[in-house]
Symmetry: C2
Subunit: 695 residues, 2 copies
């Protein structure tokens, strides 16, 4: 009678079990390359499903870094697998035949909006592969999927190095979330909102109208601080609807999920009553569907605090199902009979401390103290002897006990059947629930942006189609939360589009570079920005070369990696791009590094892009006089009574000093070493001729 | 009647469930700081338990990095928590009162060898905290623990930066295991061996005698290749005994664990019969205990392929327990009765296609085609109506069914009881099993080292108390497995203890530095080394400053981090240390960086340590003439017909060229940029005066 379920193979990309997931998106990805490279992403735990195409494998890698899929399917014949395997733990090679047009169309026809999309063959094959794989692994039962096609031309391009260097999703220290842009601006209160905010950061917009609509919504929510508080409290009552509905669709939900769904829909009902001015907020709220009937069904059927497993019983409410009620009643009668039996047997035997008990091995028994266990009626059968007592059963008791066990088994099975019926009813409405879930997510993100704007005193940026980026009192959104921060301006205009930034180590060059990029990104997702005033002309791509990531075991030196990145930047940047370069050239001989830096700036000047170029090469300051769009800026260090201080203010002009030995002193190098370094600095060891090669 | 177990709170450091663990060690750590810092580590899944003391928090961080605990307990008053939280996801602050001497001694008295150890108060408190926490979380039932006290003076010190930079356990690319030293030399076939090898790498030895003993064992196993093969095949049959016995001790084992234990002990029995020459191998094998009686008990009691859960039934073998056999027989009789009942009722009613069936909701029923379901005996009670048939029950059938359900319940409970009895018997011998497990682990590691030595053609190093490190044809153990590798010599002696290494980027400087350190580490764990000949004078500490790890969001610049590390190295190195420095000084102004490098070399020369110093500062080559222990070496680049080639051979003397622009060209920088860079290199932009500060 032991029933077993079909055991499924869980792979990282096809997990739907709550215990095995974080609240983050959990993407299964498939890649297919022919002329273009198509990437399909499916989060089976939420039903999110999208496809995008990129020009080459490099760009594909960038998408992979952005979405961090946990599992990735590639055709066996795909060759550039090494890069991919660095980023994705589970890369699975699938036979090429599996990327098959017929099979793909077969499985895609279940996707509601598939006909409405214009997909390339590569995209269809990638989507088909991902769906087929999920289907096989999950023993799918057709959840309602909607496919989204992402056009890269609609979003700002953030390449993989930039995402890393700007610490948007992961910090550079331990790869964790602390100190990242996402960490700072994520004040969402639902798991769905948190995932959506991440998506917004993965794809900042280029469309000024949509950005403005988001900004209007954020502004309204920022101003209405009381409404926002109540709204966020209500949002908190919405559980992870996307995941719950998917678990229900896949038959992996438990009774608690149903109750959570009901409570979430009730919260949706409350949210629908909120009244807003801005178009975005009105649209969002208007379309919400609290599905009262479904709520009422769940409420009637399921008890308020059910166990996590249907099999534990007590899931279905009294009064919902006649047969169940009867079985429960019948079981209860048997139990009551046993209670009465105790009283009766006391009278019959005249033994006052006779008692009916129960244990797991022997079942029900009648216990009688040893001293009195004599001359019992003949129908008493001995079961067990204890130190002070004897245990018996009687046919009647045995009979009732067997009945109770049988009723329990029946009740359990019937509860499971009813639960399954209700589950199916809920799944019929899956699409509507998903739609409300998306609206909740977006509302939550907008609230979060309003909350952040209030908390950290952000202002609304003016986003337009122009060239300029002008920021007053800009701050680094993450760094300012952990330390006293000195704001700085930036003026990037046609006449001042390349800034050469010099100054000592630690004065704040890298932070300055990063904050300009982060403010631009925030503006283009529709967020307020950490500044007192900001104009942001839409940027199409951001490139960075900051910090150093070594790649030595793969046979490339630091310098080679740097040059490869620079090559990629020069070949992909446009006039609308923003480029951050930090100490380019430092990992090779001094004169050669300087020459390269010089030539790179000339090239970018001709291209017309906006560039922030931090450097220790003082010679580069000469460029201001030669190129119309170049301006020198610098940070400096104050020395007073032998104590060094940074004021962290950026200023026009350039700085010659690097203060390297001073910083070494601050870092507790032995005093002898520091003093000796100063001596050497002024000796001809440093300033003299370099000897010729000796062998 | 539904029974529930006490649910325990699983924390990352107290997991013992197999599905939640990898084969790696899973440490719970407690830290207590007073004069010294004590660190106690407990792996509850294997029972491994050790404590160590370090001078300060910096050194503690280094231990944390080495052992990667998954959970860490600290007193609330401990302040330097930030560093720790970067490395350990789950840092728990415990009230200071919990670090209490009385409570600690209380819980430590259950640890068998506790009295024999000399522990400081800090150590006792750390051990107590860790044990108490594990006890509360696991609802402990006194597993047999043995505490090990690690003395740092017995092991080579590898600081955290060095462990990272040398890619011993994790690579720098993605933090994974691929391409690490551990990855290359881990050919172990048991989980226990794999964990022990990691421990050996965490603590290379300083004791020449013990190193030689390990080398003898490796040599013997290397020579006896056939014996090794058979031995490793036998080792493969040993399951993760440490984890199995711990799960048994904690009452979390399942029937499959018992069978695995039995099969493992049988393999131990086979291993015990191997005959060896070297002391280490003889000792290991001699002490193994195959525990025949225990094996035989398990064999008699448990079926060969039991289900994973006792509750699924069918775990206990027929013939082991009389009561169980009887219950099973009784159940079977009832089932057979029902079978006969079908035949009987057919005859009684005259309906040939009457049949007895079973379903989950209604239980047993008698099904009769509709057409014939008339004029049935009166004791037929209708249960259910189908389209073509009617289903009935009769009192007799109902009665038997209830009996079957009741027997099943009893059988299940009795099987659990017997299983528990056997578990307890096994646990009585836990210590002996653990001892054999340790021996298996060490044997597996030695086999692995022999296997690696054969596979990659390693040679036995001469390890001694001298100063020199002399290597002929040394290779980088990880890099050589992925690419054609050019071996290089190294001579580190009193007269040549500081090597200044110049040459172009990508020529192999960093790899060369790393391979010298890795060969030293391999020698001191008792492994053969990738070289044709090697003398290794015992090294007490290895320090490195290679590659760059940024720490910018924490307010420190690359250069500051570099100088902090250099400061730490200069303050902690001894004459016996090996120090690797790569491009020290490059992140600040050129002249200041050079002056610092110069002063640092002078300092280390006086100290007498062995140093490999890679640099682009050609000026440093002058030091060879000034300091007796300094020698110049270089790599070079061949240019033929405009094609560049590295020969990756290290040579005496120094190189002036960096070939930076050449490498930029190889990295596909636009041709215009490269040509322009060569022009600028020869212009006065680079060679002229630097302008004064302009504001």
């Amino acid at each position: 009678l032991v029933r077993r379920e079909v055991v499924r193979v869980i792979t990282p990309g096809t997990v739907v079990e709550e215990e095995l997931l974080t609240t983050e998106s959990n993407y299964l990805m498939a890649l297919f390359k022919r002329e273009k490279v198509a990437l399909a992403f499916l989060d089976v735990s939420t039903g999110e499903f999208f496809v995008t195409s990129v020009k080459n494998v490099d760009e594909a890698i960038c998408e992979v870094l952005k979405y961090s899929p946990v599992e990735c399917l590639i055709p066996e014949s795909f060759e550039e697998v090494e890069e991919l395997e660095k980023l994705v733990k589970n890369v699975r090679r699938i036979e090429d035949e599996q990327f098959n047009l017929k099979r793909s169309l077969e499985v895609l026809k279940d996707v509601a909006n598939f006909q409405a999309l214009e997909l390339s063959e590569e995209e269809i094959l990638a989507c088909g592969a991902v769906l087929n794989y999920a289907k096989n692994s999950l023993l799918f039962s057709k959840p309602a999927l909607k496919l989204q096609k992402l056009e890269r031309s609609e979003y700002m391009v953030l390449d993989s190095t930039t995402i890393k260097n700007l610490e948007i999703f992961r910090n550079l220290v331990d790869g964790g979330r602390r100190g990242t842009l996402l960490d700072v601006i994520d004040k969402t209160v639902t798991a769905m909102g948190s995932r959506l905010l991440k998506k917004w950061l993965q794809r900042p917009l280029l469309d000024v109208t949509e950005i403005e609509r988001r900004l209007d919504a954020v502004e309204e929510l920022k101003e209405k601080s009381f409404v926002r508080r109540v709204l966020r409290e209500t949002l908190e009552d919405v559980y992870d609807l996307e995941r719950i509905i998917t678990r229900l669709e896949l038959g992996k939900a438990n009774p608690k999920d149903l109750v959570a769904l009901k409570n979430s829909l009730k919260a949706v009902g409350k949210i629908k009553k909120f009244d807003f001015q801005s178009k975005k907020l009105r649209d969002l709220v208007y379309g919400m569907n609290p599905m009262e009937e479904l709520c009422s069904l769940i409420e009637k059927a399921i008890v308020e605090d059910p166990p996590a497993n249907v099999k534990d019983g007590g899931v279905i409410r009294e009064g919902f199902d006649e047969e169940l009620d009867e079985l429960r009643k019948a079981k209860k009668e048997q139990e009551e009979f046993i209670k009465r039996l105790e009283e009766r047997e006391r009278k019959r035997t005249g033994i006052d401390n006779l008692r009916v008990g129960y244990n797991n091995v022997f079942g029900y028994y009648i216990e009688i103290p040893k001293s009195k266990a004599k001359n019992l009626p003949r129908y008493y059968i001995r079961k067990q002897t204890l130190v002070n007592a004897e245990r018996f059963t009687i046919p009647e008791l045995k009979d009732r006990e067997e009945k109770i066990l049988a009723y329990e088994e029946r009740i359990r099975i019937l509860e499971q059947e009813i639960f399954e019926r209700i589950r199916r009813e809920v799944v019929r409405h899956a699409e509507k629930v998903k739609d409300s879930a998306e609206r909740v997510a977006e509302l939550d993100v907008l609230c979060s942006l309003a909350e952040v704007a209030t908390l950290y005193n952000y202002t609304r940026p003016k986003v337009n189609e122009g060239f300029d980026i002008i920021i007053r009192d800009g701050r680094h959104p993450a760094v300012e939360t952990t330390t006293k921060f000195v704001p700085n301006d930036v003026n990037l205009t046609e006449n001042s589009r390349i800034l050469i930034i010099t100054g000592p180590n630690m004065a704040g060059k890298s932070t300055y570079l990063r904050q300009v990029a982060l403010i631009t990104i925030l503006a283009q997702i529709g967020s307020f920005v950490p500044a007192s005033y900001a104009v942001v002309g839409i940027v199409d791509k951001i490139f960075t070369r900051i910090g150093l990531v070594d790649d030595i075991t793969r046979g490339r030196s630091t310098f080679m990696v740097e040059m490869l990145e620079i090559g990629r930047i020069l070949n992909n940047a446009t006039k609308r791009s923003l480029i951050l370069l930090d100490e380019v050239g430092k990992s090779t001989g001094t004169k050669e590094g300087l020459s390269l830096a010089w030539a790179i700036i000339e090239y970018l000047h001709e291209l017309g892009a906006k560039v922030l170029f931090a450097t220790h090469y003082h010679e580069l300051s000469k460029l201001e006089n030669e190129l119309a769009g170049v301006k020198n800026y610098h940070f400096r260090l104050k020395e007073e009574n032998g104590k060094v201080e940074f004021d962290r203010k950026i200023r026009r002009g350039f700085s010659k000093e690097s203060y390297g030995i001073k910083i070494a002193e601050m870092a507790n190098l032995p005093k002898r070493v520091v003093e000796r370094a100063y001596e050497i600095l002024n000796s001809e060891n440093v300033n003299g001729e370099v000897p010729e090669i000796v062998e």
